[in-house]
């Protein structure tokens, strides 16, 4: 198919733009873009794509951006786009895809994830929220936690236990839960920064039609692993330029404030710069591997390093600022959609970064995954299955 080249796709975008005014109705434009297969070009036709190679998505996005077309504000629906969509594409029925994928991509419907539970933690499969069949519905009771976007979401991907008698990894089913359904209660969860990105979600007698079940009953754990892999391997939109992340904030501060410099901090800044640049090149190499069709396990390394670096660099910045590092900007309880790691104070960065080694798989869990799946080291003795 000649469309499946960069030039072919640019031509398609150009043709689309001739038919649709990028300055016109935003939602209409986005829906049409989805219908034209230019949303996720690697999706099959009819599901927002053209069956094209994944790495050509950037070509399409660039072409739309150059034309000044509205985008789908991907950061406002990160769970939907990054986790729900790949899972639905792979495991959901045709009817489910038809119902959910387009409004998800356009951003009309925000999604969240109801996996984590207070007592489960890293041992996600020990979750206790239960779903009991009742006619054509399931009735769900339980408590979820660490749910970002729950207060904005229309839909949630949900794991619930449907067979308490089965071994813990085999009694779980994957659902899509309507966040506006009766019995869904969302409470903000205040975090160390004073704000609340996350929520606790209480599910009390929530009815989910069986048509909102994804995959077979009892197959939820296998499906969830698809989702979680997407969470861990996702490495954002574009390659990071040198000094693109927090290390850039630190480097600029060092350059602009000679009064703060000491010999000891100089070495720490240089160490951080070296480590950040090494991590950046490793992430770039991972992109090149993916583009070459050789996705490797390096995504876990990227996430581990990101957490370690963001913590180390922000901690160093607080110390480099010295007296200024003793000051925060604001402890007010707020509801941000995503962390503002580059915009606020060093103290905010430092505190928020503590979560980077906990959320989306703790660094401890990631190390064990690397040891077992990449290095082939034996699992620890299991006492829970």
């Amino acid at each position: 198919m000649s469309d499946h080249t960069a030039d072919g796709l640019r031509a398609l975008v150009a043709a689309f733009l001739r038919r649709h005014d990028p300055g016109g109705d935003r939602l209409g434009f986005l829906r049409a873009r989805f219908d034209a297969g230019l949303a996720w070009v690697h999706h099959p036709p009819g599901r927002g794509g053209l069956g094209a190679p994944t790495d050509l998505q950037a070509v399409v996005d660039d072409a739309f951006a150059e034309a000044g077309a509205p985008d789908n504000q991907p950061r406002r629906n990160s769970i939907g786009l990054g986790m729900a969509a790949p899972t639905l594409l792979r495991h959901a029925s045709e009817a489910q895809c038809q119902r959910w994928l387009r409004p998800l991509w356009t951003g009309e419907e925000v999604w969240c994830q109801l996996f984590s539970e207070p007592d489960a933690g890293s041992d996600l499969a020990s979750l206790r929220t239960r779903a009991v069949p009742d006619g054509d519905d399931w009735v769900v009771d339980g408590q979820k936690v660490w749910t970002s976007l729950a207060h904005e979401a229309r839909w949630a991907i949900l794991l619930a236990r449907t067979d308490p008698a089965a071994p813990k990894h085999h009694g779980i089913t994957y659902f899509v839960c309507d966040m506006t359904a009766p019995g869904v209660q969302v409470r903000p969860l205040r975090q160390v920064t004073g704000e609340a990105e996350f929520n606790e979600v209480f599910l009390t007698g929530v009815r989910i039609p069986d048509t909102h079940r994804v995959g077979a009953v009892g197959h939820g754990w296998q499906i969830a692993r698809t989702t979680l892999m997407n969470e861990r391997v996702a490495i954002g939109g574009r390659p990071m330029p040198r000094e693109g992340g927090m290390v850039g904030v630190l480097a600029r501060l060092w350059r602009e404030r000679p009064d703060l410099r000491t010999g000891g901090l100089h070495e720490e800044v240089l160490h951080a710069w070296v480590r950040a640049e090494a991590a950046r090149l490793a992430a770039l190499r991972l992109r090149q591997l993916i583009a070459a069709g050789q996705p490797g396990p390096e995504g876990s390394a990227v996430k581990l390093s990101f957490a370690e670096l963001s913590q180390r660099i922000s901690g160093l910045e607080v110390e480099l600022r010295g007296a200024e590092g003793l000051r925060h900007d604001d402890w007010t309880m707020r509801r941000p959609v995503e962390p503002d790691l580059l915009g606020r104070t060093a103290t905010y960065r430092y505190l928020r970064a503590r979560g980077n080694s906990i959320e989306g798989g703790t660094s401890e869990i990631l190390r064990s995954i690397i040891a077992e799946r990449v290095l082939g080291l034996p699992a620890e003795p299991r006492v829970d299955r």
Binding site: S116, P118, G121, S122, D123, S126, V145, W146, L189, R190, Q191, V192, G194, T262, G263, G264, L265, E268, Q311, G315, V318, E319, G322, A323, G325, L326, R327, H328, D329, D330, W331, T347, Y350, L351, R354, G355, S357, I358, E359, T362, S363, E364, R367, E380, R382, V383, D384, R385
Partner: protein
């Protein structure tokens, strides 16, 4: 010879302070005070002053104090760190050290009698070897200038202000003394910016004596803060150990996983060393030893980072729970990180050590032949 253990009197003092803090400063109360944007906990402070007599500990008997000394002060600070108690004790001790250096008997008697809160009006981040601050003297016996980020001050207390070549006493209640509130990283040790607008002042020391007094005070602050840091680290270790013993994952206590065990074992080793370092620093202060400066620099080069690592491990090993506002871990994290800057960051203290023990930086004085390895 440095004495690194706790003696019986010190253990008794610890017991009294801890009992008072358990009764009157549970973390929920500390969090509520921090969240309410209050300054320090006045009620708790009065209890410590009245029931334990903490302000008199470092004041010799001849000036009306208990004559106990800085080793006892350090034990109190361990307990205050352990409870992240929002009281101005460290600042009071630092000011007391300055008054001792000046031989200011009248003020020392007021301090010992708890008649007056006294604080040194310098930024909390000030290292013992820092250059003079921004306050100027005149016209006449008045002070002007702004001192940012001062801890442990009371609106009606007394301020000791380094200015020009002297050290001055200023009544904080004077209208010419203005307090500007600050959003502090560590709400348990709230800071204010203090502005002097031709504020009436009385000199308590001038010339080298003033400089000596301020350096002695800041050295005491650096040395004694280490005991607070030991208390912070001890709480973080104890609390984390208790949590991972009861928290189960994958059918086992989290504390049975080797990576968790080894991280906590390493932390215990660091804490063991930090305790010895902090005791040494307190001991050398009491001994008025020439080693006080060295012991204080070592204390802040070592103990500050240990407390930060302990608090960071506490957050991490509590998982999501440790990242929430409703768990006390963040109070300790903020206190530890703030304390790592107080009285100078670790790197400044390493630089001070380099001078004190003759490990010069490249390019300094005797380093005339330095250069690259030849080709």
């Amino acid at each position: 010879m440095t004495e690194l253990l706790y003696d019986a009197d010190e253990e008794a003092l610890r017991g009294s302070v801890r009992a008072l803090l358990v009764a009157h400063a549970p973390w929920q109360r500390v969090l509520a005070a921090v969240d309410g944007g209050e300054s320090y906990d006045e009620t708790l402070w009065r209890l410590l002053v009245d029931q334990i007599g903490v302000t008199g500990l470092a004041v010799p008997v001849e000036h009306g104090g208990a004559g106990a000394g800085f080793r006892e002060v350090a034990v109190v600070l361990e307990e205050l760190g352990r409870a992240v108690a929002p009281v101005p004790f460290l600042g009071a001790v630092v000011a007391t050290r300055a008054l001792l250096a000046c031989g200011e008997s009248t003020l020392l008697r007021q301090v010992a009698a708890a008649a007056r809160d006294v604080a040194l009006a310098v930024g909390l981040a000030t290292a013992p070897d820092a250059a003079p601050g921004p306050v100027t003297v005149g016209p006449g016996p008045t002070l002007s200038g702004r001192v940012p980020g001062v801890a442990d001050t009371a609106p009606n207390g007394l301020l000791l202000v380094p200015a020009g070549d002297g050290l001055y006493a200023v009544d904080a209640a004077e209208p010419a003394v203005r307090r500007h509130s600050v959003v502090s990283l560590d709400g348990t040790r709230p800071l204010v910016d203090i502005e002097f607008v031709a504020a009436p002042a009385r000199p308590v020391a001038v010339g080298p004596a003033a400089d000596t007094a301020v350096t002695a005070a800041l050295t005491a602050g650096a040395a004694l803060l280490a005991s607070e840091q030991v208390g912070i680290a001890q709480w973080c270790l104890d609390t984390t150990v208790a949590y991972v013993r009861q928290r189960h994952q994958f059918g086992r206590p989290v504390g049975s996983f080797q990576a968790v065990k080894h991280r906590l074992a390493d932390l215990w080793v660091e804490l063991t060393e930090a305790r010895a370092v902090a005791r040494h620093a307190a001991d050398r202060l009491d001994a008025a030893s020439s080693e006080a400066a060295l012991a204080a620099a070592l204390a802040q080069a070592y103990c500050g980072p240990v407390a930060v690592r302990a608090a960071e491990a506490c957050v991490q090993l509590h998982g999501g729970l440790g990242f929430t506002w409703e768990h006390p871990a963040h109070l300790y994290l903020k206190r530890a990180k703030s304390a790592a800057i107080a009285f100078g960051t670790a790197d400044r203290h390493r630089a001070a050590l380099a001078r004190l023990v003759d490990l010069p930086a490249p390019g300094t004085v005797d380093d005339v032949t330095a250069g690259h390895t030849g080709r």
